[in-house]
């Protein structure tokens, strides 16, 4: 039936889009799980990724996936620097201070991009931008498919890092109990820097993979992505990486279905409403185990 095809197509697109949302959400939830900090600037790092892809494309003619090779390390080190010099000082202050510090960061990043690139929406044209790929008779956007594949690879790499390496063990230990981790000899300050760097790297990666699909405006897009990242992490439960994946996919599907079958202008609102409902009735997230204390 035609409508079943369309439904499958919508769901497929929603799932793939959700994968990228998950990538953004994982960065946020990782940072929260280890540092107990809600990073308001997360979406702006995504935008930073988008603009770096724009820059490399404009200057060097690189395809976004090629830019990833440069953008990801840069993102990681940028995160480390930010953590070292700014966040490490507010980590023990009341949680609002970290929130406000990241808010300030968000404004600084957004406006610096605005100053450098100007206010017009930018994107990157790729040759495969409008081509689709057929899986089992369902048409899937090529860009989204590539993004989905990249996301899966990244998540697998993260899983390996967290569960199969010493650094990963140290990260998990710090997330569970910072004092305890220090007592067994983990340098938590270094771990914080690494984790924040990872979070920024993931955000940048999401931005680079998304730019062929979307337009980026320096100041607005950042807040939009930050909000989406919050929705994803709260849906899954802050601090829970696996659940963030589920949350991301859920958000992607909810948005696509809501926009197709209900009023499409309220596309953004569906995620927000789900977010509010979860915050109110199940604040530990759909899969979370901790309670809503911060």
């Amino acid at each position: 039936m035609a409508s079943l095809d369309i439904l499958l197509q919508n769901v497929a697109n929603g799932v793939l889009m959700g994968g990228v949302y998950a990538l953004i959400g994982i960065g946020l939830t990782l940072v929260f799980g280890v540092m107990r900090t809600i990073n308001f600037a997360h979406g702006d790092f995504v935008v930073l990724g988008m603009y770096s892809a724009v820059l490399f494309n404009a200057l060097l003619g690189w395809d976004p996936y090629l830019s990833l090779l440069l953008a990801m390390p840069i993102g990681f080190f940028a995160g480390v620097i930010v953590e070292r010099f700014i966040l490490s000082r507010v980590i023990d202050a009341p949680p609002e201070s970290a929130l406000l510090a990241t808010l300030g960061l968000s404004l600084i990043i957004g406006n610096t991009i605005l100053l450098t690139f100007g206010g017009e929406p930018r994107s990157v044209q790729v040759s495969y931008a409008s081509s689709t790929f057929s899986i089992a008779g369902v048409n899937v956007s090529m860009v989204l498919l590539l993004a989905g594949i990249a996301t899966v690879i990244m998540i697998a790499a993260l899983y390996a890092l967290l569960n199969r390496t010493e650094v990963g063990r140290a990260i998990r230990g710090t997330a569970e109990n910072r004092l305890g981790a220090e007592l067994v000899g983990i340098d938590t300050r270094r771990i914080h820097s690494i984790v924040f760097g990872l979070g920024v790297m993931l955000a940048v990666m999401a931005g680079v993979t998304l730019i062929p699909l979307l337009f980026a405006t320096p100041t607005n897009t950042g807040a939009v992505f930050t909000l989406k990242a919050f929705v994803v992490t709260v849906l899954g439960g802050l601090g829970n990486v696996g659940a963030a994946i589920a949350g991301g996919i859920l958000l992607g599907v909810v948005e696509v279905l809501g926009a197709s079958y209900f009023m499409s202008e309220y596309r953004e609102a569906y995620g927000l409403i789900a977010f509010l409902l979860i915050l109110l009735f199940r604040p530990e997230g759909l899969f979370g185990r901790t309670i809503k204390r911060v």
């Binding site: 809600i38 700014i86 000082r89 507010v90 202050a93 949680p95 609002e96 201070s97 929130l99 406000l100 510090a101 808010l103 300030g104 960061l105 968000s106 404004l107 600084i108 957004g110 406006n111 610096t112 605005l114 100053l115 206010g119 100041t219 807040a223 909000l227 919050f230 709260v234 009023m263 202008e265 309220y266 953004e268 609102a269 927000l272 409403i273 977010f275 509010l276 915050l279 109110l280 604040p283 809503k292 204390r293 911060v294």
Partner: protein
């Protein structure tokens, strides 16, 4: 308290004389006064009560839309619509608060963003309610006592009255029982409950008062702009500006938010010439500076040092 009231009186006197002294700088003065009023109203909830709201632009927008639609579609004069807006804002604050006060700290702030965004989307999409994304234009306004409400001077006095009323409200509250209740809930909700204060009721009252006052300023802002667009007036950026103005100036103090307004609007203007739209950069830099080095805000730090000096003098005998 008398000291503060005298200070307010002095400021009022300066304000009344201002249009005669600097008639060409009225628009920026209006900005300073509106932000001072909004930030001080915000501070009732965010500083005195400790609940950081990042959705206050919703109330500004409410006030502006009530005035605009009331005037253009129903021919209602602004003083009626502003009063209606204030009541509506208080009611909205009540339900909003009921919805979100079970959340603590950053979760509350996140929820305020979400609610504000939903309101913004409603304003953009529900044409029958708000004129949709194209906005509403105020073409004519009544002339009370023959005063032209479109003139910058009249708007300046309205903004001055607004800021003065809000600051006076805070001065009175600071010495009233309500003020102590607010601060008790901010410092430690559980202890406040042990002392017989109902934190939820206190927070709701703060939210409703803050919302109503902000919306009055929003109505005046609507008259100043004369053309209201949803994405301008319900913007997250405006909410952030209001919150940051209060925080940088000094949360929980009487004059802090007003000082913040002076500093930020002034700095913003200076930066606007160099950076055009990126003048929010200064907000970002300042908030980082405040969080890292001046956590109590400008007025907060100054008053803390003043108190310490007084204490040291007294301790010396």
């Amino acid at each position: 308290m008398t000291k503060h009231l005298i200070g307010l009186g002095v400021l009022l006197a300066v304000g009344i004389a201002y249009p005669a002294i600097l008639p060409n700088n009225l628009t920026i003065a209006i900005s300073v006064l509106l932000f001072a009023g909004w930030a001080t109203s915000w501070d009732l909830l965010g500083g005195w009560n400790g609940q950081v709201s990042l959705g206050h632009a919703s109330f500004v927008g409410l006030g502006a839309y009530f005035v605009a639609i009331g005037q253009s579609q129903f021919g209602l004069a602004p003083w009626w619509t502003v009063a209606m807006a204030a009541v509506f804002a208080a009611v909205l604050g009540y339900f909003w608060g009921q919805l979100t006060f079970s959340l603590r700290g950053p979760y509350f702030s996140l929820s305020t963003i979400a609610v504000a965004e939903i309101l913004r989307l409603i304003a953009i999409n529900e044409e029958w309610l708000s004129g949709g994304a194209t906005g509403v234009f105020i073409a004519t306004l009544p002339e009370p006592f023959g005063i032209d409400l479109f003139s910058r001077t009249a708007q300046f006095y309205m903004a001055l009255a607004f800021a003065a009323v809000v600051i006076a409200t805070v001065i009175v509250i600071s010495r009233a029982r309500f003020g102590y209740q607010l601060r008790a809930v901010r410092e430690d909700e559980d202890s406040a409950m042990a002392a017989g204060i109902d934190p939820t009721v206190t927070k709701l009252k703060a939210f409703m008062l803050s919302a109503a006052l902000t919306s009055i300023g929003g109505g005046i802002y609507g008259i100043v702009l004369a053309f209201i667009e949803p994405h301008v007036i319900f913007s997250l950026l405006l909410s952030v500006q209001i919150a940051l103005t209060a925080i940088i100036g000094g949360r929980g103090t009487i004059w802090g938010p007003a000082v913040g307004a002076l500093v930020l609007v002034g700095a913003g203007e200076m930066f606007r010439t160099t950076f055009a739209e990126a003048n929010m950069l200064i907000y970002g830099i300042l908030i980082l500076v405040v969080v890292l080095f001046v956590p109590r805000g400008i007025v907060g730090e100054l008053s803390r040092r003043h108190i310490r000096r007084l204490y040291a003098k007294r301790a010396q005998g």
